[in-house]
Structure formats: C-alpha cells, structure tokens
Symmetry: C2
Subunit: 393 residues, 2 copies
C-alpha cells in the first residue's frame, strides 16, 4: 500500500525562480495560503448557508459580496465562480449552442475551448492568424462569412483570447467583437492569461462573456475560475433548474443548471477570495511586470542567434522563444544533449522550463522581483558564455 | 475595498464536535492538510507533466497510480477524478444520454442528479419510495415499465443512491441493477455518502458507474470527486477529443471530452490522494462508526416523544430525526423559540445543526471518537432535562 509519505512536499516556488508559462499567475498569496489552511475541509464554506441555499448567496464568509465585486471589477453584470476557465467555456456553450451549430474559435484557441464546443456537439471553425500571429477583425469577418456560407447557419458563439497561450500576444478584441455583433454573434473573451494579470473590462472590450482562470492567473488553488456575463445573457447562461420530480413533485429552487448547483464549496473559492484584494492591486502594476520582463528578454536577445517569436516589444510576460540557433547548437554536441540547458538552469535555481527543451519553448516572468529578473537575465548569459555562445552586451 | 482580514479563520471542526450532515466525511486528514499546504499553488501538480499531457498520466506526484488504485479499490475498471460527484453525474449523462431521452432517478435522488439529467436535456422520471423510505427493485421494474410505456423509449440511464441524503437509508442496489440490466439500462451508483465511508465494490453491486464525492466523503478539499466505470462503458464515457482545427489542422491528443481535459490540477487531487490511505483504512472500521453512532441515537430515543425517521437499527451515521414531540414542544414557549436548541448545543460545543431547527432535522455522527459520542449523547439529555422533557434512562 502506498503510504502518505510518498507525497513529497512541493517547494518549487519556495526554492526556485519559476518561469513556467502556466504556473506563475496561480501561485498563492500569503492570504490565500492562510485561507487554504482555514478552509481546507471539504464543505467548509457551508456553515452559514441559509435559504435560498446557493454558494453565491452565502454571506459569511462574504462569498455573495465577492461575486458582486468580481462582476463590477470586470465591467460585467453577473459573475459566478466555476472549477476552472474550461468549465466557464462549457457553461456558456451549454446555454447558447445547439448540437450541429457552428462555433467560431481562433487559430490560437486553447484546447479547452475546442473541447467545450465539442462537449455540446458544436462544429468548431477557426479564424486563421495572420503572418504576425495575430487574430484580426478582418480575419474574423472573413471567417464568419465563410462559415455562414459553408454551414448555412450563423455561428452561435465566437471565442477569442485576450492574450493567447502560444505567443502571449494581444489581439484586437474590440474590433473582433464589433464584427461578431454585426452578425448578432455573442462574443466570449478568454481571459485565462489576462484576468488577474492585467486590467480587463468586458464593457470596454464590448464582449458578452469574460472567462477567467483562478489557478492560472488569480493566485488561487485549482480548479477555480470565473464566468462573467453582461445583463443580456445572464439569465440564459445562469438559468435556474426547471425540472420536477414526477413522483414526489420536488423542484430544486434556484440552483443553476450550467453551474450544476453550487461550484466551489471550500478551499478553492476561499483561496480566490483571499487573493482578490491583492489581485486587484497587482493588475494595476502591470507596467512594472513588463519592465521586469524586459530585463530578461533583453538579456536573451543579446545571445547571438536567439529570436523572440512573440510580439516585440513584449506586452505580456508569457513569451515564445526560438533558441535553435543558440542554445540548441550547444545541445548538438553536449554530452547531456538538450538536457544540459534545463540542468544548468536548475543548478542556478531557475525552474519551469520543460527538461530537454532547447528549440522553441515558452517562459513567463510574471511575479518576479527586480533582483530575480536581474538574476535570471544573468543566468541565461552565464549559461550561454559557459557553452561558448556569443553574447552581445 | 474589502481587505483580506474580512475572512475569519474557520475553526468549526477544531473547536467543536461537528454533526453537520454533509460536512463530517469531508474533514481533512492531517496528511491531506499537509498536502494542501504543499500543493496550494494553482497548477501545482503540473511540474512533471510530460507527454501525453494528461492529469491521470502524471507520475510525480503519483497521480497515475492513484487513479489505478481508486479503480481497483472500487472494483471498477477505470476511474477519473472530477470537480465533485455532480461533475461525475454530468460526465456520464454527456456520454450516454441524448436530448429527450428518459432517465430514471429515485424519489430520494439528490438535486445534482436531476440537474445532471437536465443539463443534457433528459426527461427525469422517479422511482417512488415505499412506505419505509426504500427504493426497491420492484418499484424500479414498475417505473421502467411505466416510462417505456409513457415515453415510448427505454430509459438511457438509471441513477440510484447507495445511501440517500434524506434518510441515510441503504437501498437494494444489486436487485435494482439486475432489473435495470434486464432492460439493458446502465446503472449509475451515487456513492456520495458511501465511497470513502464504508466498503463499496461496484463489481459486487453489479453497477456500471460508481460516483464518489471527495469533499463530502473522502476527506478531501472541494470541489473533488470521482467517476469510476466498468470496462464496458469506459471508452464511451472517457472518449477522447475528436475535433480538429479546420485552419490549423490541430488535434488535441488524448484529452477526454467529458473531463474537459484535465480536472483537478492541484490542491484538490493532492488532498484526495494524501487522505486515500487513511480513507481505505477507515471504511474497514465502519462497524465502529455505527457503534459510536448508536450511543447518540440511543440517547436521543430515550428523550420522550423523539422519533428516528431513518431505518432502525441505523446502518449509517447520517440520520433523520423528528423532534416535533420533544425539542419542538419547548420551542413553543421558549423566549428564544427554536433557536434555544442550537444555542444550547452551541454552548456545549456541538455544531452543525441548522439554527432554529427543532422539528425534522438531520445529523451525522461520522468520525466521532467514543468520548465525543458519549459527550454528545449526554449533551442532548442535558438539554432535554434542562427544558423539562422526560428522559427514560
């Protein structure tokens, strides 16, 4: 029998500078850690659940206020917490998409958007990216026209990523939403890399749904996330149960179908909530994050042969990099092959790069202190020099 | 702005004897608490995620082994962790039920079973309970016949509760499954009050799906749970994504549609996993739990006018009680009305009864020590005597 001792304590973010593309925005704040300890037990937030018995009505702890605050913070009318952004995508699809309906996604959409569409039997169609890895309003318009022609139906929903997971590029959300709305297609903004990271207003962007990830970008435990809607769609997405027990006559109050009733009954919602005041502050310091990220980017670019595949100058801390002409040259003859690189990073206390990756890879500098950025920048230079790569500084 | 200090630390299970019907099985073990602290950060289990990039393939921490162990522990062929039992119900419905299909539930089904059916557009139909609050194989057979006649279709799925949430009664799962299978109807066993509490073997019960709740009954943080299937249905329920990006040609590997890809990426799966060795042991001590529960039940029954509405002798620690002729008599003239009762319990350090409840209510003695059971039993007697109720001891 496995014993509990088989689970080693994880200390990645305590003992190293983590640059993992998906992990850095989800590290807990100290207040979230306290909440996690206090609310670890299963149904811990249900002590004071009273009529009408729904998570987002609980007043103590102040989960009801938290829901209202989230909606207004995002410039939306209603918000619910869900077990991950993906469950937000699913909820919106459940409310708006019928089997066989075309749904528009993009060439940079995350797999969970595709799966949400697939889960309701939708036909996913992509907006292609342009040569600069952007999703444009023109491409959206062309795609909508193409889909209407080939599928004979107006798409039921359009997904677009505020910042995509591949390049960390920003896209013209306002323009795309305007185009979609001219066809009466509702727009879902995937804020997995933006909500909790930089300022987001669904109202300013002109979108109908804002989805965020707690464990990716809101310093919260997994699985957590949110789905926010404008007033137009709130009732449809958050429709309450309408079924009845045919023998007992039971009905089930105001539980919402797409939420499956209550969603995050303990540690997850409390972690999100405890981090929220800090998250609201940190999005306002986004320029600082970009400035610190630039220290690392500049250093990497000074290593001959290194290319940044994401937009330059960087407007996000998630970056796609091509080191085929620099660090991978070393791997060709190194006795550790590609593993020399992550091994050298590891020795310097830098974690989060996939072992063996020396060709095209991603990293995220979010949340570093300035001295960690300096240290990381120098570590890359060191490794380059140590392995005979030219550095132009 | 709300500050983090607004979240008071929760100490219900540290400072009181909690008899809340839904909370007692979800209290963390000490090992789970350690895991929660070590894996609080968002995507904390993804450090060593390698191809094929899916939660249940992660070897370090040993999440892959955990999945295999769960399946064999439950006498099933495959298992996945999900954000709560409800998401397990939903996954099975997604895989087996088409819009308009009748689905059989019971007069004692939990609302989340109804919502899972509703979420896929099914027509829920209840098996009535008998005069003893049992769901019988005969009633199941009659219901199936009735539904086939009235709906003109064989039901796509039958839900049944191992132990129901209303009375904590056991039902004839084997008999019901046999009947359902004679119509080729797959059977979903809702183990929200049994998996993690008492020994459960899906194989012995003859069911096709076993659903469990981590936060209700497996000493795990919320939201967590599991869906286990036999080999016959595993492929259908855990079908991998089949969609393709029409512009990029992307496909999405072995991510499973009903799971929405990965499910519990941090604290939730790690909490479940750390508690698992203890959970495996505690289900074997179920007789001890019943024996301790009996101490409390006997005490309550010695208070004149008190009735147990659940099966007697109790075969579960969740009990429905009628105190209209005992504690509620006091409420009629007490200056605190019904609140005197929970207030008196609170003063004695007993938590988990809905404030004001003195008529028909529920409690759960699961996890008490023997001295806590004695103490609780005496507390009820004390409160009865203090308020002039006759006690026959």
């Amino acid at each position: 029998m496995r014993c509990a001792g088989d689970i080693d304590a994880r200390q990645v973010d305590e003992t190293a500078i983590n640059i993992d593309p998906i992990q850095v925005g989800g590290r807990l704040t100290a207040d979230a850690m306290k909440a996690v300890i206090a609310y670890g037990d299963g149904y811990s937030v249900c002590d004071n659940c009273r009529k009408p018995f729904r998570l987002d009505y609980i007043k103590k702890p102040p989960i009801a206020d938290f829901h209202a605050d989230l909606a207004s913070w995002l410039g939306m009318d209603a918000c619910r917490v869900v077990p991950g952004a993906r469950r937000g995508f699913q909820a919106v699809c459940q409310g708006l998409v019928q089997k066989g309906d075309p749904v528009i996604l993009t060439a940079l959409s995350h797999y969970t958007e595709f799966i949400a569409a697939e889960s309701v039997g939708a036909v996913p169609r992509e907006i292609p990216k342009d040569g600069k890895n952007h999703i444009t309003a023109d491409a959206a318009a062309e795609t909508i026209e193409r889909v209407i022609k080939t599928e004979g139906k107006t798409p039921a929903l359009l997904f677009v990523e505020g910042v995509d997971y591949q390049f960390g590029n920003h896209h013209d959300i306002r323009g795309i939403a305007k185009v979609a709305h001219s066809y009466d297609i509702p727009v879902l903004y995937n804020g997995a890399y933006t909500v909790g990271i930089l300022p987001v207003s669904g109202k300013e962007l002109g979108v109908d749904f804002v989805i965020g990830s707690g464990h990716k970008s809101m310093a919260a435990p997994a699985p957590s996330g949110l789905v926010a809607t404008n007033a137009e769609y709130a009732e449809r997405i958050f429709a309450t149960t309408a079924v009845k027990g045919d023998q007992t006559g039971r009905t089930f109050g105001i539980k919402e179908v797409a939420m499956m009733g209550c969603t995050l009954m303990g540690v997850t919602v409390m972690g999100m909530m405890a981090s929220f005041p800090h998250v609201k502050e940190r999005v306002l310091a986004w320029d600082e994050e970009l400035r610190k990220g630039k220290i690392v980017i500049d250093s990497l670019l000074s290593i001959e042969g290194t290319k940044i595949l994401s937009d330059m100058p960087r407007e996000h801390t998630l970056t796609r990099i091509d080191t085929r002409e620099s660090f991978d040259r070393v791997a060709e003859t190194h006795k550790k092959r590609g593993f020399y690189f992550t091994s050298a990073l590891g020795k310097r206390g830098i974690a989060g790069v996939i072992p063996g990756a020396t060709k095209i890879w991603k990293f995220n500098t979010y949340g570093m202190t300035e001295s960690q950025a300096d240290y990381t920048a120098n570590a890359f230079l060191d490794i380059a020099r140590e392995n005979g790569l030219a550095v132009n500084d």
